[in-house]
């Protein structure tokens, strides 16, 4: 796609978006930067604090622990959702009414408000009134997500798998749809095994959309707030207090503006860095495909 003409007037077309996003992103972000280098005793009286907050946070256990939990959470759900999503995509019917039914039912969890997702699992997992909790209790498993560390983590992870695996599956499915039948026929003539078909035909065709799936799942799982907040409230103790939960606690709960702002900036930078790496890989892959 190198046939774009140079036209600086195109800036005029971008202007509305620019104004809108500047209003809703740049101004708030500047406020955050402003807070992060100041201290206050209330009454809107601020005085400069330099990089104090950053140093304090980097030296405190609180942020590192939250970051550790966050990384563990993102790694676990990616390790489950991506292979499972690919597996589901491979098993989805290609066409017909049954395919439509699958598409609609699979998209359903994606369109449920996030706190309702939390509520659903909160109810589902309760030992007294929830199907899952009651079944597990019946089987003699000691399960209580509000008190037990493993139960809380298992619930939060299963909930995320329930909520988002469909996204990976739908993306993978779209990638599979773009493979012409001729490829499969050629593979059949060559008597390729099922694994070879997957490894050399399906996986390369899916790699582009899978990158996007991984990028999206990484970003969104790194920002997760509502669902674990509703289910476990960050507990037991601080066991499921992920970065966003900790941040909201600090900013809106304790109103520690300085540290919260410094926290926000570092948090944002981590996401930005990882996403930039993904984005660069994606665009180079795109370019390579375009040349073929």
């Amino acid at each position: 796609m190198n046939d774009k003409t140079v036209n600086q007037k195109a800036w005029l077309l971008v202007l509305p978006v620019l104004a809108l996003v500047a209003f809703s992103a740049v101004i708030p972000l500047m406020t955050v930067v402003n807070y992060s280098v100041q201290d206050t005793f209330g009454n809107n009286q601020f005085f400069p604090a330099g990089l104090e907050w950053f140093e304090e946070l980097l030296a405190s256990d609180r942020m590192w622990n939250a970051l550790g939990r966050q990384v563990a959470f993102s790694a676990i759900i990616l390790a489950i959702e991506v292979p499972l999503g690919v597996f589901i995509a491979l098993n989805m019917p290609k066409r017909g009414a049954w395919a439509s039914v699958c598409l609609v039912l699979m998209s359903l969890p994606l369109l449920i408000p996030w706190n309702v997702v939390g509520t659903i699992w909160q109810i589902f997992g309760r030992v007294d009134i929830g199907l899952l909790g009651a079944t597990l209790a019946e089987l003699g498993i000691d399960y209580n997500y509000t008190q037990d560390f493993y139960a809380a983590w298992a619930t939060v992870i299963v909930m995320d798998v329930w909520h988002w695996t469909s996204l990976v599956a739908l993306l993978g499915y779209a990638g599979l749809q773009s493979i012409p039948d001729a490829y499969y026929q050629a593979a059949k003539i060559d008597q390729a095994s099922r694994w070879a078909v997957f490894r050399y035909i399906e996986l390369p065709k899916m790699s582009g959309v899978l990158m996007i799936a991984i990028l999206l799942r990484f970003m969104d799982s790194f920002m997760i707030y509502t669902e674990p907040f509703v289910v476990t409230g960050g507990g037991p103790g601080n066991d499921t207090t992920f970065l966003s939960i900790d941040l909201v606690k600090m900013a809106l709960g304790q109103f520690d503006l300085g540290p919260a702002a410094a926290f926000s900036l570092m948090y944002f930078l981590v996401i930005l860095l990882v996403s930039w790496v993904f984005y660069t890989v994606m665009t180079t892959m795109d370019a390579r495909e375009g040349r073929k």
């Binding site: 098993n91 609609v104 994606l110 369109l111 469909s166 790194f222 966003s244 900036l265 984005y279």
Partner: protein, 271 residues
């Protein structure tokens, strides 16, 4: 080897997966049709004492159903604003090369990546200071933060698929830019607009943190209404479940209408 066996395997896998997806939703629906006494006293897979009282509570009490109205108002506002702003920008990105275009594009995307928790507090202060706190437009504008970049991204993908010759022919025929865009170009990418609107709707509808922070009474979304009621009125499980079911319905309706485009929207990988 016959093709029958893998098909059966696939059917089993899909059935199990869909079962896993539907079980929690089934349980929620089940609970919404029971009385609180039944929920708490006995454990039944099917409501013994079928009741619609929970739904009646929600649909007759303004403090409940206004939550749905508020949510729908700002979601629709947000979708319209996002698409209207994103259309010309996406056109510029798909057709022209200009100073800083690539950086600008990535910068837009970074806003999709920004954690809402980072923006909650500054948004609250910004909208309070301009007197927009607790209005629908405040939430609609706040959601533009992630929906506008998304809409630009999706629309750009669709516009790239329209050959440039069409633009040029239209100009030669004497169409002005505005007329060309409205009369010729927009119908060509109608499905793209549909997909973009779907995703804007979806992400605005499911978001809670920002919409809760920016509203108190007049524009309180249904999702926040639910959270409050859980903590305030104790454990009215039946009503809570019914409210949950009602929040799923709009999403299900929207999916049904765009089901044939979903795969295409995903295929562009622009989510």
């Amino acid at each position: 080897m016959s093709r029958a066996r893998p098909r059966i395997g696939s059917a089993v896998v899909m059935t199990l997966y869909l079962l896993f997806l539907m079980l929690p939703i089934y349980w929620l629906t089940n609970m919404s049709l029971k009385t609180n006494a039944e929920i708490l006293s006995t454990f039944t897979l099917w409501p013994n004492d079928l009741t619609f009282a929970n739904y009646r509570t929600i649909l007759t009490d303004p403090s409940w159903y206004m939550g749905y109205v508020n949510s729908l108002i700002y979601v629709v506002m947000n979708t319209v604003i996002s698409i209207a702003a994103a259309l010309p920008a996406a056109y510029a990105f798909s057709r022209y090369r200009f100073l800083g275009d690539k950086h600008l594009f990535f910068w837009l995307l970074t806003n999709r990546m920004a954690p809402p928790a980072v923006f909650a507090l500054p948004f609250f202060q910004l909208y309070s200071s301009v007197g927009l706190f607790d209005t629908h437009i405040a939430v609609a504008l706040a959601h533009c933060l992630f929906n506008v970049p998304l809409a630009v991204w999706i629309l750009e993908g669709f516009m790239r698929g329209v050959p440039k010759e069409i633009d040029e022919t239209a100009y030669i025929d004497g169409y002005s830019f505005g007329r060309f865009f409205l009369r010729i170009f927009m119908p060509l990418i109608a499905s793209g607009i549909g997909v973009a609107a779907f995703f804007c709707f979806m992400f605005s509808w499911v978001e809670l943190l920002l919409s809760r922070t920016l509203t108190s009474v007049d524009a309180k979304p249904i999702a926040a209404t639910m959270t409050r009621t859980v903590s305030a009125s104790g454990l009215d499980w039946g009503v809570l479940a019914a409210a949950g079911v009602l929040t799923i319905l709009p999403g299900a309706l929207v999916i049904w209408f765009v089901r044939n485009y979903i795969a295409k929207g995903f295929a562009l990988g622009r989510v």
